[in-house]
């Protein structure tokens, strides 16, 4: 449970850094925006690594019982979304590094940030359904 709580904090923190990164981008502070975006990617990767560790130490597999099926399918689907978000943020980060985002092109960046907040919100929902409700 401690690990899941830490993971929740990590994901929420990544939502905050993503939001700040977009804000800095709008303020045309591109260096800070890049740093915050990199922090978001790292936090997202940390979330996935902790999730993998949790899977490895779960003590049950998806086919053991209904909870196992629900646990792995719901958190797995969410993890897939986190992975997609990380890929999209990485593409934006690489484009920023190449200077493509120096001009005020922010639409795709804003869309991905919106997606990331959605992934955050879904995790809160899953946290209650999969972890707290099951206690």
């Amino acid at each position: 449970m401690t690990l899941v709580s830490i993971n929740t904090v990590i994901l929420l923190l990544s939502g905050f850094t993503a939001h700040k990164s977009l804000e800095k981008h709008l303020e045309e502070d591109y260096d800070m925006s890049k740093r915050l975006l990199l922090a978001t990617i790292c936090l997202g990767l940390s979330f996935l690594l902790i999730q993998m560790y949790e899977y490895y130490n779960a003590g049950f597999i998806w086919s053991d019982h209904p909870y196992g099926t629900a646990f792995f399918s719901l958190t797995g689907l969410h993890g897939l979304h986190v992975m997609i978000g990380i890929i999209m943020f990485s593409v934006v980060f690489l484009l920023m590094k190449k200077g493509f985002y120096d001009r005020p092109r922010y639409d795709s960046f804003r869309a991905i940030t919106m997606y990331w907040h959605f992934v955050d919100a879904v995790w809160i929902l899953l946290f209650f359904i999969v972890y707290l409700e099951a206690i």
Partner: protein, 117 residues
């Protein structure tokens, strides 16, 4: 190849919206299908992952070429196409996840591993 793509874009420069015959979306769809198929038959991932990386590279590459031919339409206060598209994706996904959660917690009857034992 790059020149050819640019010419195609210029041909349609006066069309409303953006028209270009990119293969990137279909390659990306194929890659995602292969990767998901890899969950059932794992060797598919070996083909799927490189195709996925190539598709993302290809799409990004084409997209950045297109930027040079687009007008600066970004208005900080307005919502542009990709934001709307993302909003619809989020709504669809939220419905999907809700149904999934309902099946997981309601019909099956969610129980912790401890309760099961």
């Amino acid at each position: 190849m790059e020149r050819l793509e640019v010419e195609k874009i210029e041909d349609h420069i006066n069309s409303k919206g953006e028209i270009h015959n990119s293969s990137a979306p279909i390659i990306l769809s194929l890659a995602i299908t292969l990767c998901l198929g890899g969950l059932l038959v794992w060797p598919l991932v070996i083909i799927g992952l490189p195709v996925l990386i190539y598709a993302i590279y290809r799409w990004t590459y084409e997209e950045t070429i297109l930027w040079n031919y687009r007008e600066e339409e970004n208005d900080f206060e307005s919502w542009n196409d990709s934001s709307w598209a993302m909003l619809w994706i989020i709504i669809t996904e939220a419905i999907y996840l809700r149904v999934f959660s309902h099946i997981g917690s309601g019909h099956v009857g969610i129980q912790s591993a401890g309760q099961k034992q």
